[in-house]
């Protein structure tokens, strides 16, 4: 991130020796070429956004406002990945007869830990969405099911995932299962309500058209309601993705042998702010990548939707 900032500064410095107009021309040309390459512009802005944030932090450190022991700036907590990575080796560290130096390298440890947490998020998200969309559709499809199930779902939706934590451990002990259970239980109830809400907002005309064409109830659900709620559901999924990342850490910090949550707890217990921020950075990157993948999928699946952000851009 810091490299990008330097490059930017270097560009400006080089331009300063030439007349100001030339600099402006160069700048506008650079900008125009980026508008042509849309993705490149996006990468550029993403880097700029992050380096601005990191730069402010570094500035606070340089001015002496941020104590490096409590709020270590990025160049400190990202500076020594090998050092930090050692702590990620939680999978083998607690095993009897295993020394801290054995097992995977620091970099591998970070990868393994990140992958384990990501896999739990992914599994939880998939299970929760399938269950929630299924139950949501059934609630609207069968009035009987609605009356039987919806009150309980509404009753359980406000319960904090923290409250489910002991239940997860009672039921599943220690391992992947309680973490995945936590993600599912944190998302499921809201996603059911969101699905029902999406179904209720399907345009009446769409349903009426299908009815006049002689479509049966299952056909209306399969051919009209499901495609019509898809855009909204993917949005719901994206919002819940972040929720899943938040919950998985809570679950991992207690029940599970290894994972990002464990590293955070370790950092807390050993008073290691650098490790906390390093882990936060890793989580951020993973979550960002996950969201990006989901947005790509969204664009592929929802080919018919116009780019709505474009409408507001003209204001």
């Amino acid at each position: 991130m810091a490299v990008v900032t330097r490059d930017g500064e270097a560009g400006v410095a080089a331009g300063a020796s030439r007349p100001a107009a030339a600099t402006r021309l160069l700048g506008s040309r650079l900008f125009a070429s980026m508008a042509g390459l849309d993705w490149l512009a996006k990468v550029w802005w993403t880097c700029l956004s992050i380096s601005l944030f990191a730069g402010l932090w570094e500035l606070c450190w340089a001015m002496g406002w941020a104590d490096p022991k409590l709020l270590p700036p990025p160049h400190i907590f990202l500076g020594n990945i090998a050092e930090q990575g050692r702590f990620f080796n939680t999978a083998t560290r607690w095993q009897v007869g295993t020394s801290m130096t054995e097992g995977p390298s620091a970099f591998e440890s970070v990868l393994i830990t990140g992958a384990a947490t990501t896999a739990r998020v992914f599994a939880g998200l998939v299970i929760a969405s399938v269950l929630a969309i299924g139950v949501g559709v059934l609630v609207r499809y069968y009035r009987f099911f609605d009356r039987l199930v919806l009150p309980t779902i509404t009753l359980l939706s406000p319960v904090s995932p923290i409250a489910w934590l002991p239940v997860a451990i009672f039921l599943f002990g220690i391992g992947n299962a309680p973490a995945i259970f936590m993600v599912v239980v944190a998302l499921f109830f809201h996603m059911v309500l969101a699905t029902i809400n999406q179904i209720d907002t399907v345009k009446t005309n769409f349903i009426n058209v299908a009815r006049t064409m002689g479509a049966s109830k299952p056909q209306i659900y399969a051919r009209v309601i499901v495609p019509a709620i898809l855009p909204g559901m993917l949005q719901v999924l994206r919002m819940n993705l972040f929720g899943a990342w938040m919950v998985v850490l809570v679950a991992e910090s207690t029940g599970v042998g290894y994972g990002m949550g464990q590293v955070i707890m370790l950092a807390r217990n050993t008073f290691n702010p650098s490790l906390v921020f390093f882990t936060i950075a890793v989580i951020g990157v993973l979550g960002f990548a996950f969201d990006w993948l989901l947005r790509m999928a969204q664009r592929r699946i929802l080919y018919w939707l116009p780019d709505t952000a474009e409408r507001l851009r003209v204001l």
Binding site: K203, N205, F206, N208, V209, A210, R211, T212, M213, G214, A215, S216, Q219, R223, V224, P227, A228, L230, W304, L305, P306
Partner: protein, 275 residues
């Protein structure tokens, strides 16, 4: 059930209404009567326009005839079948675009065939025929959001025609279009109507539209909607809408409608004024 069917209707008629009424939210505090005592006979191949002030229940009657809503009084038949649920024989075209955005134009047009499990080739063939009739064969593989408002309504008409309906129900289909496009769409609709031989029931609150299109104009009273009068228009087609006769009809319809609009206004004011 058969004993309920009243004997006094001609089974050849496209639509027969006897004493049809509709009260929304019947039996609750919010109950309000939208339609009362509608008696109406529509011949096969006839073009009938429902004209009335906004909220007079003319669209409600269309939905009842389509079978999308149940009448709370009276009975409706279509070609001697009692109307109890929607049927592809009575296609409804809405004011608002109702094309499915996730399907291409031809898939939209052949949606009804897909429901019946027709093969891909058959669906494409029927869709091509229907789109040919509305002059949009070139747009076959486009998506609805790539079309203009007028083109979308033509696709909606094609979708209805693909079902080979005997009755075409149209709920202010051109209301969202600009004046020039609307005039072209009216000509287009008359061509389609002549070719298809279907009866058309067309809801509008535009007098000009009624004069341009209708064999008969059913003028509605304001709430609850009742038939005030049925006004036949005998002008030869293609019609010259600027002729003296057309002007006379326009004036007479305006007079008929003005009373109702005045009454609706007075009611709204009474409603808004605290007692």
């Amino acid at each position: 059930m058969s004993s309920e069917i009243a004997p006094h209707f001609s089974s050849k008629d496209a639509v027969v209404c006897r004493g049809v009424g509709k009260t929304w939210a019947a039996g609750t505090k919010r109950a309000h009567e939208a339609l009362r005592d509608i008696d109406l006979d529509i011949k096969p191949g006839e073009f009938v326009v429902f004209l009335g002030p906004s909220g007079c229940g003319k669209s409600t009657l269309l939905y009842l005839i389509a079978g999308l809503e149940d009448a709370t009084g009276g009975q409706i038949w279509s070609f001697s079948d009692k109307v109890e649920m929607p049927s592809p024989e009575r296609s409804l075209i809405f004011q608002e675009t109702s094309l499915f955005p996730w399907l291409t134009v031809w898939q939209n047009v052949s949606f009804g065939l897909a429901i019946r499990g027709a093969s891909q080739e058959e669906r494409r063939k029927v869709a091509a025929e229907a789109l040919q009739r509305v002059g949009l064969i070139a747009a076959m593989d486009k998506r609805p959001d790539e079309l203009s408002g007028g083109m979308r309504q033509r696709v909606a008409v094609a979708r209805a025609l693909a079902m080979r309906p005997k009755v075409l129900l149209m709920d202010e289909p051109f209301a969202a279009l600009d004046v020039q496009t609307r005039a072209r769409m009216q000509d287009f609709l008359l061509d389609v109507w002549r070719d298809s031989g279907a009866s058309v029931l067309f809801v509008t609150h535009h007098i000009d539209e009624a004069v341009a299109l209708a064999d008969r104009v059913v003028v509605f009273t304001s709430r609850p909607g009742r038939i005030k009068t049925i006004y036949p228009i005998d002008l030869p087609r293609p019609r010259n809408l600027f002729s003296r006769e057309a002007e006379t009809i326009r004036i007479q319809l305006t007079e008929l409608l003005r009373d109702e609009v005045d009454r609706a206004f007075a009611e709204q004011e009474a409603f808004a004024t605290p007692a």
